[in-house]
């Protein structure tokens, strides 16, 4: 019988200060997330320096709470895991230095984790991953299609050439006068609208799994601008629906093509935009039609959290993938090379 691995994980790559205790990569003993969103709202986006300041304010409290809620003492831990990147560098450094100090104080191995690997493995908190699989990562900073032959094997088969899809959501939200973060608001409005604008779908060249959302974003902005100049009334709900339909069409088409070409039976969708109801519904019906198993994490595991970092760290622990005390944050890490 193998021994349990119990990992304390820390995630501070953007605007959530998070810590979690996860047993064997899937059993969540605690999952504490302190969101800074209320503080960043006034700026209309995440301000890196402000984010870093908030992380220092709460980091030890969040770690303490994660241990307390798990009923765990440091002696019961196997390792400490932390997001190494990608992310806001100043924000990452708070989590990394806290993780290093904690691992040093208790003589625990330190496991560096790729943030996007975390988003993919958020699915493992709910069900086992079945390989080979394709994962679509959609968030404010990422739009990537990743093929996985096995655990910790990541092959990027497509990515955005300009804006991340979540970024496009936030921009569109701003031009139609919705507060930050705009994604959920656009999603909500779209339910009461119709696809009347028929914005362009950017599929790029044949056979490419890359994405581009800047054209769609510009089309929305230009259309609104033209309407306003002519004094025509614009139904916000229709703009939201038309934009969302274009984004969802492209995301689902490319993803389902990849599922077919790579002959996988399991599709994962992860990242903040995986919470989008339009995207979820479309994937649900497409996967049902094509007999593909679909996993989309619960809302709280779509957004940044530390439990997902602990889920990846379990596999890294099995492979002795440890860092020394000179671990530093990196704002970009190639996921194909990180293990």
């Amino acid at each position: 019988m193998t021994q349990d691995t119990v990992i304390l994980s820390i995630e501070t790559s953007c605007d959530e200060t998070a810590a979690s205790v996860v047993r064997n990569g899937s059993e969540i003993l605690s999952n504490v997330v302190v969101s800074q969103i209320e503080s960043h709202k006034r700026f209309g986006g995440v301000v890196p320096e402000v984010a870093s300041r908030h992380h220092v304010e709460t980091i030890t409290l969040v770690i303490e709470q994660a241990l307390e809620e798990a009923g765990m003492t440091p002696e019961g831990l196997s390792a400490v895991a932390v997001t190494e990147g990608p992310g806001l560098i100043g924000a990452l450094l708070v989590g990394i230095n806290a993780a290093k100090a904690f691992s040093f104080a208790h003589d625990l191995p330190l496991i560096p984790v790729h943030h996007i690997a975390g988003h993919i493995y958020a699915n493992q908190l709910e069900e086992e991953l079945e390989f080979p699989l394709v994962a679509l990562i959609v968030s404010g900073g990422h739009t990537e299609l990743i093929y996985m032959e096995d655990h910790l094997s990541f092959e990027v088969i497509g990515e955005t050439r300009d804006d991340a899809v979540g970024e496009a959501y936030d921009k569109v939200a701003r031009v139609i006068g919705l507060p930050y973060p705009g994604g959920p608001h656009v999603d909500r409005l779209s339910r009461e609208g119709a696809d009347t604008f028929d914005f362009p779908r950017s599929y790029l060249e044949q056979g490419s799994y890359d994405f581009s959302f800047s054209g769609l974003k510009s089309a929305v902005i230009n259309t609104l601008h033209n309407h306003r100049q002519k004094g025509l009334e614009v139904k916000k709900e229709d703009v939201a629906k038309s934009f969302q339909e274009s984004a969802v069409d492209v995301l689902t088409k490319k993803t389902m093509d990849a599922v077919e070409e790579y002959e996988v039976k399991h599709l994962l969708v992860a990242g903040g935009v995986a919470a989008n109801s339009g995207l979820r519904q479309r994937f649900e019906s497409l996967c049902r039609e094509n007999d593909v198993k679909l996993s989309i994490p619960k809302l709280k595991f779509c957004t940044d959290n530390a439990a997902m970092i602990g889920a990846v760290a379990h596999h890294l622990y099995q492979k002795d993938h440890f860092a020394s005390l000179d671990l530093n944050g990196r704002n970009f890490i190639d996921i194909e090379l990180f293990v």
């Binding site: 304010e57 303490e64 440091p74 450094l93």
Partner: protein, 218 residues
């Protein structure tokens, strides 16, 4: 009493282990390396050099700022987390006072850090052998302001890391870098902190907040 002392506020880095105020081991550098990668490694080295155990530590003293925002955050984060994890007491000291103490001479001293665009983080202390008085509290101000404040004293010395750009604007200063091992002879400069609530002393709000407040004055 064993103390672990940490200062990563600016380019110089200073960490030490003291017993009853006397230095057992210290590492001081002024190389341009990221403190995030080095500070925990150096702290580990101090323990190896002294063969002390982590639980031998009675208190941690950290330079809380002002200085580079990222720099002070690294020191404060490491100090908070170590104090929390080891269950030791936590003390803070002004990063400017660490420089004053490192000068090791009596008289009126004004340590300062470059804060860009002709501004500095500065303070004025009257240093005596084992005590001091704070004449001007640490603040963000123009270099001119600080010089005006100093002109009221018969004699004074500006303390500065000569590698900082602002040294070009100064006719006279003494190159001084922090050596935090010397701080414990000034017990009154240390402030006991609640571990969870300690935050860096930036002495300046972020640029984004400043702009936001400008726009929302009314």
């Amino acid at each position: 009493m064993i103390s672990l002392l940490i200062d990563t506020s600016n380019r110089p880095l200073s960490v030490a282990l003291n017993r009853d105020g006397f230095t057992l081991a210290e590492i001081n550098t002024t190389v341009k390396k990221t403190h995030s990668a080095t500070v925990m490694d150096y702290i580990d080295k101090l323990f190896r050099m002294t063969e002390l155990k982590k639980n031998d530590i009675d208190r941690i003293i950290v330079a809380k700022g002002p200085g580079s925002y990222t720099g002070v955050r690294i020191g404060v984060t490491v100090a908070k987390t170590l104090a929390f994890a080891l269950g030791t007491k936590l003390y803070s000291v002004s990063s400017l006072f660490v420089v004053a103490a490192s000068y090791s001479k009596e008289g009126i001293v004004a340590p300062l850090f470059d804060a860009r665009r002709g501004n500095v983080f500065g303070a004025v202390y009257n240093m005596k052998p084992d005590s001091f008085t704070e004449e001007v509290a640490p603040a963000h101000m123009s270099l001119k302001d600080l010089q005006t404040k100093l002109s009221s004293y018969e004699s004074s010395v500006i303390l500065l890391d000569g590698q900082e750009n602002i040294s070009a604007n100064l006719e006279d200063f003494v190159h001084t870098v922090p050596r935090i091992s010397l701080i414990e002879q000034f017990e009154t400069a240390l402030e006991e902190e609640d571990i969870h609530s300690l935050v860096p002393e930036y002495l300046r709000i972020s640029e984004a907040e400043r702009n936001w407040m400008e726009q929302n004055k009314s």
